[in-house]
Amino acid sequence: MTPIKNPLLPGLLDMLVLKTLSVESLHGYGIAQHLHLLSRDVLRVEEGSLYPALQRMRQKGWIKAEWRQTANNQRARYYTLTTLGRRQLGEQEAGFAELMSAVRRVMKQA
């Protein structure tokens, strides 16, 4: 199955990234891989939207960035979820759930 490049809304992308980082700290490539894997190839996030999003979230204070050594002793920038980010994740998750149930209610009508 060819991976569909679904356009991801920025809000949605933020939530997914925050969720990813809530498990463990990752670098940019790692986040992209994680999303790709877990969504079984459906969500192919473009690097063009990932990195701007990461910077935005960093400036908002939801994540913080630091340079560390990878397992292969290479330098990479790792992002970690902050307390503020965790709170934000909770809010966005709740909001998304509400959205989904609303959509489902509408679709059930047909």
Partner: protein
């Protein structure tokens, strides 16, 4: 909030963040490559696949970088750097514009500073300046309204008692007084103020306290003093002086406090250094009239300052004060001592009060200074218009030159908005540079103007305070926008294809516009030059006006007596010793004792003349008393009859010498010598006229009546007189100090002499013409420079445009001279058009300038011709350089070009 703060911080970490991003993306790309390789692709293919997956790195980088830079900051930086480079590449253009802006903005800033100080600036610490006013007293004198700010102490008390519109009222008298003793003696400015004056201000003393009403009780007050801050720092080095005493005139006053910095009394152009209670000022001055200053209506003693109650309008306050004045006038009439002529009736004099601005420059009778300054402000505004026109013209020329450039940039995709923003940036950069230059011009021009206007030699930095700098900034912004908008708009209308095709050739319309602008500048410059010449000639006329005496050869010696009043015999003996000592001094030709001072303190006479109409109907008669040498010392000629001699002493028949105008007005067509003047109530002795002297300037430089009467001092005030006039060999100014040293030892006790050249009396009266000449002269030159720059710019541009045409002409055999003439002709045409327009403008305003001039017609054809000539000359010079360049155009190059 947090996000914007972080974004702002990141702006400064841009470079670091850029590097980190680059590294991060490379890391990502490497891993994508490895991923592709593991999927089985070859090395090369893997890299390509990775690249494709990653996407457009440039786009990514740009998108991310948008997070840590505000687009407009980047654009602004770019624009400024680009504009700066462009300006540096065309130095003559840049210098022209910056100089023009500096002159225009600087001149206006200076005029704002001057007008502010003369008319508007509120005094430091003054609470609620809008409610504080000065009382201007007006009376009708022979059909003319006479305005004065002086009130007697008694009159001030009347105002205090009889008005209801004022929450506060105070009286201030500022004058020069001698402070200190012996060698430390100096004349400084002292203010006698009522205790209520301090209540007008929101200030706490820097040390000690201010005096209160209990220390300001008539007739003599309490001898206490408050020092001005500057004086305290300079004389006492900030040490504790409360309780120390100072010798002030005839009094020893105790210092009770120091005022905060910036408190200068009422006149901040001539700040007072010591403040004493008004009632103590009289005793400090000493002399016979000590008690009289604070009593009765004899002496005009100060200026009345009031604070309106908040619910009272100025009109109501004026009416209230007028009513109080009338009551006071009536009271004065009734209180007149018997034997003296009474005050005129209410119907005759119609006294009224105007409650107006604190600064006299903004009051009902502004001085000549204030009016001249107002005119000069108009002139400066004119200069600003010229400046704006000039700079707009220059910028327009530059825009037209770069039309091809602009077309290329538009073709490459620059949005018109960015184009306009860039052009505006250039104007703003020029304006900022101009503003910096303007600060320099303000400093230089400001010191010249302040030097004319004030007696204090404060640094010209005084003109560069926050208010004036704010005005500079404001003007810069306005000028920058105004001059930048037109070229920017024109540039934005460039259509790409025609501009690229045609190359930099000019459209007819804008050429005419630019020429019109230059003609306007030339016209305005002419107006300014005419003004300058008119004032310079007025000043010259004032300086060379025959006064009837020779101030350059006369030294005034005034005696100031301190300590216990001297016996009449002692006074006479002192006078004799001073006169003798002066006469034997090698520098002195002649010496005379006298009582009045021309252009200083003069005596007003009331008398009757036999066979003449009542003198009150004829005008003001000034009196002077002197020893027999008086006329010789002054250099005043006796036209008929004789001057006084030693024989005209006490007991001998009373005599007087009158001025020619006096004789003419009292006894027209008859011989005045032998006629009688009678002083005092009838039957009064006959004072016979024995001589006719030439008219002198006694009261003001512009007076038309020269009615003077001279008496031998032995007959009228044998123990009186204020000092000597000495006629010296050589220059009076140089001899003054020498004479003081020679004569001072003769003074008893702590009494002393002030010695000054008589020419110092002329400085203040001549000031308004000096001001006009300085300001118009300076601005006229500035305007000329600006107009010349403008003309040069336009002609050069025209020459550059017509290069091909010049080349063709030269190829066809035109000589150098012909080409030069061709170009110069344009400059001449502009100049002549400007002159004609300027002459019309100047004539329109001539009627209003006339009152400010002195024996100089505002329509003088000689002046106009000179101004026109100067303008034409400057225009020719401005066109010479481009003309020379045009004549040197290489025909083959010109024809080949483009």
């Amino acid at each position: 909030m947090r996000e914007w703060f972080n974004r702002l911080v990141d702006v400064f970490r841009r470079r670091t963040l850029d590097r980190e991003l680059e590294e991060e993306l490379r890391f990502h790309a490497r891993h994508l490559e490895r991923e592709a390789a593991e999927a089985g692709l070859s090395r090369e293919d893997a890299r390509v696949q990775a690249g494709r997956s990653l996407g457009n790195v440039t786009r990514i980088t740009e998108d991310v970088r948008a997070r840590w830079s505000f687009a407009w900051i980047d654009h602004l930086q770019q624009d400024v750097r680009f504009a700066w480079r462009g300006l540096r590449r065309t130095p003559s253009f840049t210098v022209s514009v910056v100089v023009t802006l500096a002159l225009g903005i600087g001149a206006n800033t200076v005029m704002f500073g001057v007008m502010d100080r003369l008319m508007f600036r509120p005094l430091d610490y003054l609470r609620d300046p809008g409610t504080v006013h000065r009382l201007y007293l007006q009376t009708l004198e022979r059909g003319v309204v006479n305005t004065s700010v002086w009130v007697q102490y008694e009159r001030y008390r009347d105002f205090e008692a009889k008005t209801s519109s004022f929450a506060q009222i105070a009286c201030v008298n500022e004058r020069l007084m001698a402070v200190g003793r012996g060698d430390a003696l100096r004349e400084i400015r002292v203010a006698g103020v009522t205790a209520s004056y301090f209540d007008f201000f929101d200030m706490a003393p820097a040390a000690g306290r201010f005096f209160g009403p209990s220390e300001d009780i008539a007739p003599s007050g309490t001898p206490v003093a408050v020092l001005a801050h500057g004086y305290w720092v300079a004389e006492y080095g900030r040490r504790d002086v409360v309780g120390e005493t100072i010798a002030l005139g005839n009094l020893s006053v105790t210092i009770i406090g120091v005022a905060p910095p910036g408190f200068t009394g009422l006149d901040d152009a001539q700040p007072s250094q010591i403040f004493v209670p008004l009632t103590a000022l009289g005793p400090a001055m000493g002399g016979q009239a000590t008690a009289g200053f604070s009593q009765g209506y004899r002496f005009l003693w100060g200026a009345a300052i009031v604070r309106r109650k908040p619910d009272v309008s100025e009109a109501r306050a004026t009416a209230d004060a007028t009513e109080a004045y009338r009551l006071s006038w009536q009271r004065q009439r009734e209180a007149a001592p018997p034997g003296t002529p009474p005050l005129r009736s209410l119907e005759d004099a119609q006294p009224r009060v105007v409650v107006s601005a604190l600064r006299t420059g903004n009051g009902p009778a502004p001085s000549l200074d204030a009016r001249t300054s107002l005119w000069t402000s108009g002139v400066a505004a004119l200069l600003l218009i010229i400046t704006v026109a000039n700079v707009a013209n220059l910028l327009l020329g530059r825009t037209l030159e770069r039309r091809q450039d602009t077309a290329v940039r538009l073709a490459l995709g620059v949005s018109r908005r960015r184009l306009i923003a860039h052009l505006l940036t250039e104007s703003v950069v020029l304006a900022v540079l101009g503003a910096l230059g303007a600060v320099g011009v303000t400093y230089w021009l400001g010191s010249a103007v302040l030097g004319v206007l004030t007696t204090t030699t404060g640094s010209a930095a005084g003109l560069l305070d926050s208010r004036t700098l704010l005005v500079t900034a404001g003007l810069t912004v306005v000028v920058g926008l105004m001059t930048g908008l037109v070229p920017a708009w024109i540039a934005s209308r460039v259509t790409v294809a025609p501009a690229l095709r045609r190359g930099p050739r000019e459209a007819g319309g804008s050429a005419r516009l630019r020429m019109a602008l230059v003609v306007m500048q030339a016209a305005l410059s002419l107006v300014l030059i005419v003004g300058a010449l008119l004032f310079v000639r007025s000043l010259a006329a004032v300086r060379s006006m025959p006064l009837g005496y020779e101030p350059d050869r006369i030294v005034m010696v005034n005696q100031v007596l301190r300590g216990a009043p001297m016996q009449p015999a002692a006074l006479v003996a002192l006078r004799q010793s001073l006169l003798e000592a002066a006469r034997v001094h090698p520098a002195v030709e002649a010496a005379a004792w006298r009582s009045s001072t021309p252009l200083g303190t003069t005596m007003q006479l009331r008398f009757t003349a036999d066979g003449a109409p009542p003198v009150e109907t004829l005008g003001l008669f000034s009196g002077q008393e002197g020893t027999p040498d008086y006329f010789a010392v002054m250099g005043t000629r006796i036209l008929r009859g004789r001057p006084f001699t030693e024989d005209d002493r006490a007991g001998a028949p009373r005599v007087a010498v009158v001025s020619e105008s006096t004789a003419r007005v009292l006894w027209p067509g008859q011989e005045a010598i032998g006629k009688c003047l009678r002083f005092g109530p009838p039957p009064a002795e006959c004072t016979s006229v024995i001589g006719i002297a030439e008219d002198i300037v006694a009261n003001s430089l512009t007076e038309t009546e020269r009615y003077q009467v001279y008496f031998p001092i032995e007959q009228t005030s044998p123990q009186g007189g204020s000092g000597m006039f000495l006629r010296v060999r050589g220059d009076a100014a140089a001899q003054a100090a020498v004479l003081r040293q020679a004569l001072q030892p003769l003074m008893p006790g702590t009494s002393y002499l002030t010695v000054q050249p008589m020419s110092s009396l002329l400085v203040r009266p001549q000031r308004s013409w000096r001001l006009g000449a300085t300001m118009f002269g300076a601005f006229g030159m500035l305007a000329l420079v600006v107009a010349a720059i403008g003309l040069y710019g336009v002609i050069s541009y025209g020459v550059a445009q017509r290069r091909r045409e010049m080349g063709v002409r030269i190829a066809l055999g035109a000589g150098r001279g012909d080409i030069v003439w061709l170009v110069t002709r344009q400059g001449l045409a502009v100049a002549i058009a400007g002159v004609m327009l300027g002459v019309c403008l100047a004539l329109v305003f001539s009627g209003q300038v006339q009152p400010l001039l002195f024996s100089q017609s505002a329509k003088d054809p000689g002046v106009y011709a000179t101004a026109g000539g100067v303008l034409v000359l400057v225009a020719v010079v401005a066109t010479l350089l481009p003309a020379a360049r045009a004549s040197r155009a290489n025909p083959t190059e010109a024809l080949r070009g483009e």
